[in-house]
């Protein structure tokens, strides 16, 4: 036995978000796309020099004649994906979330979304999932994309959900933005008998004392935090909201209306313009005045560093989140 692995303390572009000893699956997006492509000949894969880092290389190897390497040109990637969709194909276009959201926005908006084209934009490094610094940390991608008409936005939690989301977003007619966890992706939701449904939030566990509403990797953090809180006799409900837009407001409002428990939204995103503010708006419109808090990234350009360090620093690690919740409750 070599003992526990030392905690990573250096910045890395590609750092696994899996915690020590967590079950993982390799490249769930790539494998799910290959499986789907067998029955959907119109699916093509396109990327801007990031096949390897978006798990699209699995598809490229399995279906080389359906893979388009567009080079390091994200505006072209999105425009060409629009053109492909106009000719009847369903492109899965991959890059990093920062480049899609910041650099290629106009092309996703006008070339793809305005015509409601069947392009699936799948992006790695959402929120704070790299220690590389602001050039690669898409801390505001949801804020940028939520305002885009016609666009469906999905933020899956784990490998199981990514596998299920791939056929679901392909079946949906219209553009989709999906935040991607890649590489060795944790497997968590298999223990909850969970099935992804586009547009639906799911109560993973109930609890009378606090309602945690979360998406993406923060759902696995919320589940662990709920376990930790149970030791303090605090029962936390966890409502997982993998579809950010359209938001399942009915389920969110019904859950928040129950028993006057406080509502905490946890997201791997800036507190500006993401799930937290979307939930707050839904609650306000429904006249629900629950105590409301957000666990999310600050409205700031974040530091470079090791992911575990940064997740602690910015409050989205399990321990930081649990500490925050204990203080609030």
């Amino acid at each position: 036995m070599s003992g526990a692995k030392p905690r990573l303390t250096t910045a890395a572009m590609i750092a696994s978000i899996a915690s020590e000893g967590q079950k993982t699956k390799a490249a769930p997006f790539g494998h799910a796309l290959v499986a789907l492509a067998e029955t959907r000949p119109e699916i093509v894969g396109m990327t801007a020099d990031l096949a390897k880092y978006t798990d699209l290389h699995i598809f490229a190897q399995a279906c080389p004649d359906r893979f388009y390497q567009m080079g390091m040109a994200e505006q072209l990637l999105m425009a060409a994906a629009a053109g492909m969709a106009k000719e009847g194909f369903t492109p899965f276009a991959t890059t990093y979330a920062v480049f899609a959201a910041r650099r290629a926005y106009d092309f996703i908006c006008l070339a793809i979304a305005e015509e409601n084209l069947d392009v699936k934009v799948v992006c790695a490094l959402p929120g704070l999932t790299t220690g590389y610094g602001p050039s690669h940390q898409a801390t505001e991608d949801l804020a940028i994309f939520r305002g885009m008409p016609n666009l469906t936005i999905v933020d899956p939690c784990d490998a199981l959900e990514i596998e299920q989301a791939v056929p679901a977003i392909a079946a949906h007619r219209g553009p989709v933005y999906m935040r991607l966890l890649r590489g060795a992706v944790p497997l968590v939701l298999d223990e909850y008998g969970y099935r992804f449904e586009l547009g639906r939030a799911a109560m993973l566990r109930d609890g009378a004392d606090v309602l945690l509403i979360s998406s993406g990797l923060m759902t696995m953090r919320a589940l662990e935090a709920a376990d930790a809180l149970r030791k303090d006799r605090i029962e936390a409900a966890v409502l997982h909201v993998p579809t950010i837009k359209p938001l399942d407001e009915a389920t969110i409002v019904a859950a928040a209306a129950k028993s006057g428990r406080p509502v905490v939204v946890a997201e791997n995103h800036s507190v500006v313009g993401g799930l937290g503010e979307a939930v707050a708006g839904a609650l306000a419109r429904s006249g629900i005045a629950a105590r409301f808090r957000q666990v999310g990234l600050p409205d700031a350009f974040l530091d470079a560093g090791a992911l575990p360090t940064l997740h602690d620093r910015y409050g989205i690690s399990v321990s930081a989140m649990t500490t925050t919740l204990r203080e609030w409750l």
Binding site: G71, A73, Q75, A79, P91, L110, E114
Partner: protein
Amino acid sequence: MSANAGLPNEPSLAERARRIRRNALRMGEIQGQGYIAQALGIADVLAVSYFHALRYHADDPHWEGRDRFLLSCGHYAIALYAALIEAGIIPEPELETYGVDDSRLPMSGMASYTPGMEVSGGSLGQGLGIGVGMALGLKRKHSGARVFNLMSDGELGEGATWEAAMSAAHWKLDNLVCIVDFNNQQADGPSTQMLCSEPLEAKWDAFGWFAQRVDGNDIDAVREAFDRARTLDEAKPRVIICDTRMACGVPFLEARERNHFLRVAPEEWQKALRIIEAEAAP
């Protein structure tokens, strides 16, 4: 096939261009202003496109085998509507609705509004990249259809244009034809003084394209350029840089220095239309 099959009774390309100018002026008169100088300038290129080069079915704008004509410069919509009316894709009486609320002919071209409008242009610099994707898609389908992308010279300033240019050559897209309307006029002044794209032919050539530069108001020269672009037996994309004169065909409008977005006095529309009508073949 296109409306121009070389039949003896078929109007000449010059007559088609004249009618496109007339249609555009009639639409411009309805709004009293607009991108009429661009429409008059590009009319000859559109006549060659729709009555010589493009394959399409006027009664079935979505016919799978059609050549795709992308209007990257969405503000040229008035020009394309004028051509689509002449081609029989849009009924002529509809020109009365140009730019009017709930019309199928909005002032900037959008795919969902208008039959024969392939893309929503207007965010300049997007058309060529979309064209790359369509040309790739057509090749995937083993289709013989071509993609023609019409862009304005101002769009040469957009970086995305050159991403797409590089990509088209990389993928050897011999089914893609880019038409650059070089009228040397954009919103703030002459294009060459805003962000100079010269030497333009050499640039496209260096990017791996078969490049031609012609007088875009010389119909024979334009037709020959389109023919060379269509028949070239080289696996590369093709560009035709068309030097055009703003407001070509209406001398008193041509003479205006700032004619990017023309304001024309009410009586001047009729004056312009009379000039165009006087050119009608006897």
